[in-house]
């Protein structure tokens, strides 16, 4: 038996899943001030419907980190940057307590300027005086040479052992110093609060189901163990859209180009599946308006959902963006998008008579027929969604290209299907798909797809390796791996092998070894370095990842 719980902004959903069927599902209001209590409430109700000892995996999706960052409740953290030459320091306005240190590394990982011990000590003294106990350290090109970051950590260890340090190269191995620095900063900032939460959750779950695996859903649609999340709490942001996309995949199990529309109460999230695989945000997750290296699905959120209110304002119809309670058919006061669809399409959702009464009143106020008003609402909703979907297609098609073949074989998004998720989906998705001229997919489990998606998602993990045969070194990240390579006859398959090995090692460290065999190479580049007339060495960049998918025991959903 599997349990998936997705804590959303308004509601927390949970499912108990066994042998291809949802045994029980729960929808409960989220208490933002006590997420742990919310989770346990849902967990206990699910457990009451299952066999406690047979539940061997619980996956949680939580908004804790998103909330901490959005409300500025993360711990006060100092960011120590070593930008070296390049952009002016003024362009790194990442946080109030940013300190700059000497030290420069170039793109090959060579030291240009050494760090300055005295300067580090002065800065640390300031950090200490300010009473800051968390430090994030980020150097430009530190993923090619981590010695400066490590040097700073050593100094902190010697001088202020109480300070906790987070190094950027251990968080990400990709190019982009500002994103690495931001990710490192957010990681340092939320670590303590997250660990407190993890301690509580772990103890509570242990208490109820002692031998159960506990996983956390990440923004990239994969899970990590609760233990593994402790060093990287940032990865748990935006698990909501990831859960709904994984849920859509779990229900539809198809290799088509689809758009997943998760119709919530106040917002709708849109994701693309290309050949059945979720599209990743090429720039990483944007947290609090800042780009990060947290890998995430490409999600477009719009402020429009089933509960978006309908009202007349200055003689014209307003659809949303406010939510003034649930739809009238479900006991609300103000007519909503769901009510309009209920009437227009005779959906018989809740109390359809109540929907009709309020919609009629609104139509009278607008001086329109009921049908005309409902059509106007439907038109507004579908065209807003359609525009957002088209924009996502274009953005994907217009991603920069760095190779000739990428331009020659320019990708084109041909939509096959719309997959509807969420409570309001049955009302809106059929109309939207007609508008887009494609089929749609709705499943009886669509309303609980998020929690289901969380329950059956498997762990994901990625590793990037950079090999420089002229310097005879490699670096691998995240995790801060580095070491020597034998230069003779080093080939790209050696680099792939190395990446695989490091990924397996990282999986082992995070106790995720089961799926590392399935890892796929997503980046494979090699360059000859020609100096003078001859070959001076080769550079390899290899990226390998366990892609989002399902745990082995999940074989689909029975109808």
């Amino acid at each position: 038996m599997l349990i998936g719980i997705d804590v959303g902004g308004t509601y927390t959903d949970g499912v108990l899943f066994s042998d291809g069927a949802v045994v029980h599902s729960v929808k409960s209001p989220t208490d933002e001030t006590d997420l742990k209590a919310t989770l346990l409430l849902v967990l206990d109700e699910l457990l009451a419907h299952g066999i406690r000892d047979e539940v061997h995996r619980v996956v949680l999706g939580t908004t804790l980190i998103t909330n901490l960052l959005a409300t500025g409740q993360g711990e006060r953290t100092a960011l120590l940057l070593m930008p070296g030459s390049g952009l002016p320091y003024g362009s790194y306005r990442i946080c109030p307590e940013t300190y700059f240190l000497k030290g420069g590394i170039d793109f090959r990982g060579r030291e240009i300027d050494p760090p300055d011990k005295k300067e580090i000590e002065l800065v640390l003294r300031e950090v200490d005086r300010a009473g800051i106990l968390r430090v994030a350290v980020a150097g430009k090109f530190s993923h090619r040479n981590d010695s400066h970051e490590k040097f700073v950590r050593e100094r902190i260890g010697e001088l202020y052992p109480a300070m906790e340090v987070c190094l950027s190269n251990e968080v990400s191995g990709r190019l982009n110093f500002p994103r690495r620095a931001v990710t490192c900063y957010y990681t340092a900032m939320t670590m303590r609060e997250w660990n407190r939460f993890a301690d509580g959750i772990e103890a509570a779950i242990r208490d109820r189901i002692p031998s159960c695996e506990v996983h956390i859903l990440k923004a990239d649609g994969g899970t990590t163990t609760l233990e593994g999340s402790r060093k990287r709490p940032c990865e748990t942001v935006f698990s909501g859209p990831a859960a709904s996309t994984m849920g859509a995949m779990a229900l539809s199990r198809e290799t088509l180009n689809s758009v997943v529309v998760d119709m919530g109460g106040t917002t709708s999230d849109i994701c693309l599946l290309i050949d059945g695989r979720p599209l990743n945000a090429s720039k990483g997750a944007t947290i609090e308006g800042r780009l990060t290296h947290v890998s995430s699905f490409a999600v477009h959120s719009i402020a429009l959902g089933g509960d978006s209110s309908l009202r007349m304002e200055d003689g014209s119809l307003r659809v949303g963006p406010l939510r003034l309670g649930p739809a009238v058919c479900f006991g609300g006061d103000t007519p909503t998008v769901t009510d309009a669809f209920n009437v227009l399409m005779d959906l018989n959702l809740g109390d359809i008579k109540a929907s009709r009464t309020k919609i009629e009143a609104l139509a009278a106020e607008a001086g329109q027929s009921v049908e005309a008003l409902c059509l106007a609402v439907a038109d507004r909703v579908t065209s807003t969604l359609k525009d957002a979907i088209r924009r996502m297609f274009t953005e994907w098609e217009d991603e920069p290209a760095y190779k000739v073949w990428e331009v020659v074989n320019k990708r084109k998004f041909v939509l096959h299907r719309v997959i509807g998720i969420g409570a309001a989906a049955p009302a809106i998705i059929p109309l939207l798909s007609r508008e887009l001229g494609v089929d749609y997919f709705l499943h009886p489990y669509s309303p609980v797809a998020n929690a289901l998606g969380a329950a059956v998602s498997r762990p994901t993990l990625a590793m990037e390796v950079h090999v420089d045969t002229q310097k005879r070194t490699y670096s691998g990240a995240p995790g801060g791996f580095s070491g020597p390579v034998k230069e003779r006859d080093y080939q790209v398959h050696d680099a792939v092998k190395l990446a695989r090995m490091l990924l397996a090692e990282l999986s082992r460290q995070r106790r995720l070894s089961v799926y590392s065999e399935d890892a796929q190479v997503y980046l494979e580049e090699q360059f000859n370095m020609i100096r003078g007339m001859g070959l001076a060495g080769k550079l390899f960049d290899v990226g390998i990842q366990i892609t989002p998918g399902f745990i082995e025991e999940f074989k689909g959903v029975d109808l």
Binding site: P83, P88, R108, Y402
Partner: protein
């Protein structure tokens, strides 16, 4: 404030040959530097997706022998197409200025293309100029070529075009490829003075080039009043470039860009792939976007390292004065040339393609028209790298030409179609935007 458009197309899967300076590795470290800096994420920058230039867009500028598809690789089409993407972004007002960081380069490619010259097959900036004219009706354009090599291809293409001001500074042709670009190369009889060359002594520094910029280039632009300023942004004036002997720095390039304020910059040469390109490309983007670049420097940068000599400054001052005077009397000279009453001005030239190692023999005639800048007829023959020899006849009709020139040019094309001496006869009709190729053996005409 509008962003600066950047199109980074490093062609990571294309090289002239594995060890050639124009190889996959060329923009690798630039990629690392730009992406590590995160400059593409900044609000000041907007990154663009490349596209392929169409055969027709290439044919507005070139006579590719025997045809565009057999002469040009897809890499070239993407490179030229990228320049066009930047042109669109600029003309549509999406960006305040733009930089196409692309390869392969193009400024040595001339009107007729039999192969690769100086790593170039087609001329990206020239293809862009005709695109700007055709699509947006732009007429007066200035191209400032800051590559260390003379932009001889661009010069040849616009030699007879009084609406394109071509200014090139470069290491002296006596000491560097392609051996041209002397101060007396000033444009054709009806476009005299709109080609300006500034040959520089080896080891000229930032100081020297900035002097030329401030005292010659900027005043010329001021007086010419172009609608669009294009920078052929070659980066091989750098002190570490392996193919040249100059002493320019990344700071120098950035400062040049700040003062020149090009609307669209297009990358040309630059072969110091590790010690110069990452820093210069970064510097140019920062300068275009108005980002402070004082913290940008090469690892071995030392501002005191290069000092301009008094001798060189004397030489530069004299050259600047001379070229300013030439430019200011250009209209007089053109009038004088018209009054000579010649029907055609003709020249013979021999063009060597160093990369492909072939020689083209060419005869060019310009109609000395009393009303317009005339049209061109070119006879060209070369044995291409494939061993195939082609003799072709080309008629080029500019957009800004009078009706009688247009008629006469079209007649020339029709007349030559019957001549068995030519393998192909081409008509570049920019007024109708039609590009004809007549295969005399097969007697088939194709139209783009």
């Amino acid at each position: 404030m509008k962003p600066t458009g950047v199109l980074f197309f490093p062609a990571f899967d294309w090289a002239i040959s594995p060890t050639h300076p124009e190889r996959e590795e060329r923009l690798l470290y630039t990629r690392d530097q730009l992406f590590e800096e995160g400059i593409m994420d900044m609000d000041e920058i907007s990154e663009y997706h490349p596209r392929l230039a169409s055969f027709k867009e290439v044919s507005r500028t070139h006579f590719c022998v025997p045809s565009v598809d057999t002469r040009v690789t897809q890499a070239h089409l993407v490179s030229a197409g990228s320049a066009l993407v930047m042109a669109d972004a600029f003309m549509k007002g999406e960006v305040k200025n733009a930089f196409a960081i692309i390869r392969p380069p193009g400024h040595h490619a001339m009107t007729v293309s039999h192969g690769n010259r100086g790593f170039c097959d087609i001329n990206n900036e020239a293809v862009m100029v005709e695109y700007l004219r055709q699509t947006y009706g732009v007429r007066r354009i200035a191209i400032v070529d800051t590559d260390v090599h003379h932009g001889d291809g661009t010069q040849e293409i616009f030699w007879h075009d009084p609406d394109v001001l071509f200014i090139s500074f470069h290491q002296d042709g006596r000491t560097l490829y392609p051996g041209s670009g002397f101060d007396d190369e000033l444009g054709g009889p009806l476009a005299f003075g709109t080609t300006i060359n500034i040959p520089l002594a080896p080891r000229t520094t930032d100081t020297g080039i900035h002097y030329v910029l401030d005292n010659l280039v900027l005043p010329l632009l001021d007086e010419f009043k172009p609608e669009v300023v294009i920078n052929s942004a070659g980066q091989d004036n750098h002190y570490s470039d392996p193919l040249s002997n100059m002493s320019f720095t990344a700071q120098g390039y950035a400062a040049l860009t700040t003062r020149l304020k090009p609307d669209i910059a297009v990358l040309e040469g630059g072969y110091s792939v590790e010690t110069a390109l990452p820093y210069i490309n970064m510097g140019i983007i920062m300068a275009l976007a108005g980002i402070d670049y004082s913290n940008l420097r090469e690892p071995d940068y030392d501002p005191a390292r290069f000092k301009e000599t008094a001798d060189n400054m004397r030489y530069l001052r004299a050259l600047v004065d001379q070229q300013l005077a030439v430019f200011r009397q250009r209209e007089e000279v053109v009038e004088k040339n018209r009054r000579k009453g010649e029907e055609f001005a003709s020249i013979k030239r021999s063009v060597f393609y160093d990369t492909d190692y072939l020689r083209e023999e060419q005869r060019e005639e310009l109609r000395i028209c009393p009303r317009c800048a005339g049209f061109r007829r070119i006879t060209s023959a070369a044995t291409q790298r494939t061993g195939q020899r082609y003799t072709v006849f080309c008629v080029s009709l500019p957009r800004a030409c009078c009706e009688s020139c247009a008629e006469e040019a079209r007649d020339s094309y029709e007349e030559m179609k019957d001549r068995p001496a030519f393998d192909y006869v081409y008509l570049q009709d920019r007024i109708l935007d039609e590009f004809r190729t007549f295969d005399t053996k097969a007697e088939v005409e194709s139209l783009l």
